[in-house]
């Protein structure tokens, strides 16, 4: 297993529309395992392949309190949506930003699991929000796209500044202690 590098907004690769997974091969299973490891280490509750620069329709999710219920969804699709719910979301590709987003309160989902078995189920609450957030990634969409243009620009500036600060720190600026 290996931890993967997560791309950060406004990296253009986050705007890729991912291609369907043709077959659940050993490579795909290794990718899912690496993505789970990356998600837990971040820490996050969901991660899409697009976020680690892989052009495949694959997401991993764990919304349990203890972080012991990993789920893998391959080629996930939303068949139906109902209701609306507003929740505060954050994204591993937009670190340090947490904003409210309105989404469907419940969704019917079809996907393959990590072994290639077909699944169809209803999700609500945090799981529904998380699945919609991750499927958005596979379509090149980010949660900041739901915010106002002004807010998105502010976030972009803040992140570019922090990324710059991080690069200068790596170049060896002396710590304050």
């Amino acid at each position: 297993m290996a931890k993967l590098t997560i791309l950060h907004f406004p990296d253009p690769r986050l705007r890729t529309r991912a291609r369907p997974v043709p077959a659940v091969s050993a490579d795909i299973q290794r990718l899912a395992a690496d993505m789970l490891e990356t998600m837990y280490a971040a820490p996050g509750i969901g991660l899409a392949a697009t976020q680690v620069g892989v052009d495949q329709r694959l997401i991993v999710v764990d919304v349990s309190e203890k972080g012991n219920e990993p789920r893998v969804f391959i080629n996930p699709e939303i068949l139906a949506r109902a209701g609306t719910e507003t929740m505060q979301e954050g994204c591993l590709s937009v670190p340090g930003v947490f904003e409210e987003v309105e989404r469907a309160a419940s969704v019917r989902v079809r996907a393959l699991d990590g072994n290639g078995q077909p699944l169809e189920f209803d999700a609500d609450g945090l799981l529904a929000v998380c699945i919609q957030h991750e499927i958005d990634h596979l379509n090149g969409k980010l949660f900041v796209d739901y915010l106002s243009e002004l807010k998105r620009q502010r976030i972009r500036k803040k992140l570019e500044k922090e990324q710059h600060a991080a690069r200068s720190a790596e170049r060896g600026a002396a710590p304050a202690i």
Partner: protein, 433 residues
């Protein structure tokens, strides 16, 4: 997708408090209902605790840093303080406290600060025993109060200042006030016991119940049904002192959120009560409380110092003036006062209190009673304020308060913070000739 880590979220809440926000308000906005309950409890504990010990944590942090943090890094500053709070006061295993706090740097997207946070917290852990032994030599840090407030409390209470400051660092008890129109105190105690909540009757307030293990009152059905409210015992003493009788015209001049207003009506529902507050948002809370408790009063959004804008010219037989004050008596409940309150604000509050007393006195009927209340411990806002008023008003005299609570602080009576587990309150009863 990610959710904010409790430590990163607490650091962001604390940063807004340093920018002037009230802690309870900042927490309400930041900790949303969908945030996991256990994490929400940790965020509250980190915020309240860090502010409660802020002067001490700040002193340590200054010593641990080779050079001060940039002023533009309030979140990182808050994160380091709450790291020190966990190591010095919380029962979190130190390695977990350090690892999680350092990790929160990434959540705040300050990965460049990881090394700094790690170094500060580990150095504190190494030097903790030594730092603790030298703490008594640094008063503001030792007593964990801002220097100016410490000096003023020592000056005003030369025999009690240490106990007062110690009380300011305590966690407050949860005290309830039974709505005697709907329940007896004995019945409420039975209901709480049945719900597994240990509680006992208060010693001074006939309506008071102290809960030994604080709980979320909203989980108890009697709360929504208006059987009880949350109110410190010291604040419950106002209703008894004011002696409201049926049919009396009563003014509650700074009423929001309506705790004392409602208590007055629970004692005497036939009173004609006018509740004022100059903040429309807070006045809304008076309506909510009246409704929940099944009480009726007239509520106006108005400035108590400008009676010509709201007074109908008919005198009041009772006036409750719960004046805006430094809140130095309720620091244990609102530890953000330690960082938000500035000494110059106290002078402005003292002027405001004098203005309110002078503006409301003409509205009091002859033979009527005005109860002056603060949740302050500072003489300037209390005894000295009322003395000044009495000297300027020949038709005013202070009624003695015969009580077993508090200490005499003529012309009124002072409850010292922490005394019989109560908040610090000042009461003076003024009678009009």
């Amino acid at each position: 997708m990610s959710r904010e880590s409790p430590r990163a979220l607490a650091a962001r809440v604390l940063a807004t408090v340093w920018q002037g926000a009230r802690l309870d308000e900042a927490l309400r906005q930041a900790v949303r209902l969908d945030y996991p309950a256990r994490d929400a409890a940790l965020v509250r504990e980190l915020c309240y605790g860090t502010l409660r010990f802020e002067p001490r944590l700040e002193f340590w942090l200054t010593g641990l840093l080779k050079r001060p943090l940039e002023a533009r890094e309030p979140e990182l500053h808050a994160l380091l303080l709450l790291g020190l709070y966990q190591l010095s006061e919380m029962r979190v295993p130190p390695h977990a406290a350090i690892a999680e706090t350092v990790e929160a740097c990434r959540h705040l997207f300050k990965p460049w600060a990881v090394q700094l946070a790690n170094a500060v917290l580990r150095r504190f852990q190494r030097e903790q025993a030594h730092l603790m032994t030298e703490l008594p030599q640094h008063e503001a840090a030792y007593y964990a109060h801002p220097r100016w407030l410490l000096e003023r409390i020592r000056q005003d209470w030369p025999d009690h200042w240490r106990e007062i400051l110690a009380a300011g660092n305590q966690r407050p008890p949860l005290t309830l006030r039974v709505n005697r129109l709907r329940r007896t105190r004995a019945a409420l105690l039975v209901e709480l016991a049945a719900a597994g909540i240990a509680a006992q009757a208060c010693g001074f307030s006939a309506a008071g119940v102290t809960v030994l293990e604080p709980f979320d009152v909203r989980t108890q059905p009697g709360f929504a049904a208006g059987h009880f409210s949350v109110q410190d015992e010291a604040a419950q003493l106002a209703a008894e002192l004011l002696e409201v009788h049926a049919g009396m015209r009563v003014l509650d001049a700074c009423a929001a959120p309506g705790g004392k207003t409602c208590h007055l009506l629970e004692c005497c529902p036939q009173a004609q009560l006018l509740a004022l507050d100059n903040d429309a948002g807070r006045a809304q809370k008076i309506h909510q409380n009246l409704q929940r408790l099944g009480l009726a009063a007239e509520v106006k959004v108005a400035d108590a110092t400008q009676p010509d804008t709201w007074w109908d010219g008919r005198p009041f037989e009772r006036i409750l003036l719960d004046a805006p004050c430094s809140a130095s008596g309720v620091i244990r409940r609102h530890p953000d006062i330690k960082v938000r309150r500035r000494p110059e604000e106290v002078s402005a509050l003292v002027a405001m209190q004098a203005q309110m007393l002078a503006a409301l006195w003409p509205l009091l009927a002859s033979g009527g009673k005005l109860l002056y209340v603060t949740c302050s411990l500072l003489a300037e806002e209390n005894a000295a304020q009322v003395d000044k008023f009495l000297a300027a008003h020949a038709d005013a005299r202070a009624l003695p308060i015969a009580a077993h609570w508090g200490v005499a602080s003529p012309p009124g009576r002072q409850i010292l913070a922490g005394e019989s587990r109560m908040d610090g309150f000042y009461y003076a009863c003024l009678h009009k000739a």
